[in-house]
Symmetry: C2
Subunit: 136 residues, 2 copies
DNA sequence: TCCTACAATGGACAGAGTCCAAGTCAAGAA
DNA sequence: TTCTTGACTTGGACTCTGTCCATTGTAGGA
């Protein structure tokens, strides 16, 4: 993620301590934090950071394509920094833990034309559910 | 859906006018109403029905397996009465319209064991997105 | 160093959903 | 048919997630 800051700067993103902290919190693999999680972790380093700033920054990272927004259930959206390698998600139906997974096959090709109802289909998301090892 | 009421009665469901109206509103193919939609339509026939009752009844229908809860975006959940024939969803990224679709293939089989992280995977939901004919 | 446009703040607000105490009623019993 | 009772409904308060906006602050170029 260290080069994320560089990429953002290169795109003319104005660098502030708040944005830096949010970007740093979203570092690593299998990271799927809610906005509130991000706010809590960011506030450990920058206690006065506001919720609105966290939401704004997450929204910008999403529209820049650096972070993916994941809504697996009807609850809070999660933010996934693994935006540069296509993947799907595996969710524990009990505790909500999320893992990134890379299934074989191409689900887009599995949808026959007569099942497309004239839609210009451009995207597929696949969500696997089951019990994680700790919950099983 | 006419036999839904029979099935529910057979399961010992106490039949009230509110429950009957909610079940009747959820009738048909390609029906994907929000709880608020259901409440609005139910209220046309039974003006004094409360939001809490609609939520309670929808929740019961879901746990009885008669209705599927669909959360396609971060917005309101939708309720799909087509629970007895497995299917996936095709969503318009512009207007949110939903269609039931029946893709070929078996996405569960596409997830290799080494990508399951020890989860007992039991379910897959596939959501196709694109522009519907009216929005394209 | 100074400016200024862009960013952060925090508090109000909105939408979706849950909870609860009190009142109502479906359906079995007599 | 009427009675009884536990299940159901109500509406209002509440929570959670997210958005909006006027005000204040500041990064970074001149």
């Amino acid at each position: 993620m260290s080069d994320l800051l560089e990429r953002l700067r290169g795109r003319g993103w104005r660098m502030t301590s708040q944005r830096r902290v949010v970007a740093e919190v979203l570092d690593g693999d299998h990271v799927h934090l809610t906005a509130d999680d991000v706010h809590a972790r960011a506030a450990q380093r920058l206690p006065e950071i506001s919720r609105a700033t966290v939401y704004n920054t997450l929204g910008e990272l999403v529209s820049l394509g650096e972070v993916i927004e994941v809504s697996t259930d009807g609850r809070a959206k999660r933010y996934d920094p693994n935006a540069h390698r296509p993947h799907q998600h595996l969710v524990c139906s009990n505790c909500g833990t999320i893992r990134d997974v890379h299934p074989a096959g191409n689900p887009l090709a599995d949808l026959p034309a007569e099942e497309r109802f004239g839609f210009a289909v451009s995207e597929v998301t696949v969500t696997y559910r089951g019990l994680c090892p700790s919950c099983a």
